[in-house]
Homo-oligomer: 191 residues x 2
């Protein structure tokens, strides 16, 4: 961030009066340009004992598998955003959604809210950001080829709850992935 | 938003290729300036059968009562943000927090996440953004002088759950307040 989006003057970084954090401030028009976390909304689409994953066509993590999810838009509710992402990335429509995981990713200034919901039909197809979409049973989840740690964590919570026969709402903080990590088939991290 | 914060050129508003929404786009450096909802985190501080409210020292709604809450900061978890706001606005420290209400306010591009938690002690004091802070029993809640509809809704859920003897996690969408509204003592809106 270099220039004031309001008046075009150069920005300086300092702690404004009454604040305790560095902000980008415009000394010409006095605008303080706050930066805040962004919210990602997505779904776990269910069909009987299987769930739908998308293989990413775009960076980051092109070629790896993920749950349909993306940035919440202005003017949109969280549930509408999650439905939109599911439609855009997986060509899929869901029945009633239930909030399932609300996760902090402070290292990249994101919040993830993942809903779970049954597919309305088995009609689905890859959108522009997906190479393919496919239903997976728990045994077939490509744990070694998941795009993001937050997706792995969400799926671990999901299958763990399913064994228990009840779904809770999960909260927690995702830590940055190490540059290299490997998963065993059971989804546990190994050094 | 008039100027590119990256290169300082004037911005135009158009739908980028592969998108379906109007964005602010820089034709000089090609940056797309996305705008997304911001997250507000806060708490319902409990002390026995009473809860702590703050009377606002600042606009909007100066002089009216609210729960401690404010924008989530980059690099911060939701629970840490809620604790920080409680400390800053009410000078109060809470025991374990539990997520209570996750609410959409699409008309102002905000998401509210409110936690509930017991005060660690009765030590509290108004911060710079508060005129006073005070414990209220349900019968004494100043329903006619609450700052925001989202605060009223959160409190309605809270007291309703408390009567039932169990706290759920509430989701839903807050609609814009009409310019004038009045509340009866029971917290129901009346024309």
């Amino acid at each position: 961030m270099n220039f004031c989006s309001h008046c075009g003057a150069g920005l300086t970084q300092r702690i404004p009066a009454g604040d305790d954090r560095l902000r980008f401030v415009c000394d010409q028009c006095q605008t303080i340009h706050y930066q805040n976390p962004r919210m990602v909304v997505g779904t776990i689409p269910e069909w009987k004992d299987r769930i739908l994953l998308c293989r990413r066509a775009i960076e980051p993590r092109a070629g790896l598998w993920t749950l349909p999810a993306g940035y919440l838009e202005n003017g949109e509710t969280m549930i509408d955003g999650a439905r939109r992402e599911t439609r855009e990335e997986a060509g899929a429509k869901l029945e009633a959604l239930a909030p399932f995981a609300l996760l902090d990713l402070p290292f990249i200034n994101q919040i993830y809210l993942m809903f779970r919901g049954a597919l309305a039909t088995t009609a689905y197809h890859p959108g522009e950001e997906s190479l393919e979409v496919q239903l997976f049973s728990e045994a077939d989840i490509p744990w070694d080829d998941l795009a993001f740690v937050v997706v792995r964590k969400t799926l671990e919570h999901y299958f763990s709850d399913r064994v228990e026969g009840r779904f809770r709402i999960h909260t927690g903080t995702i830590v940055p992935p190490t540059e290299k990590f490997h998963h065993n088939r059971n989804g546990k991290e190994s050094p």
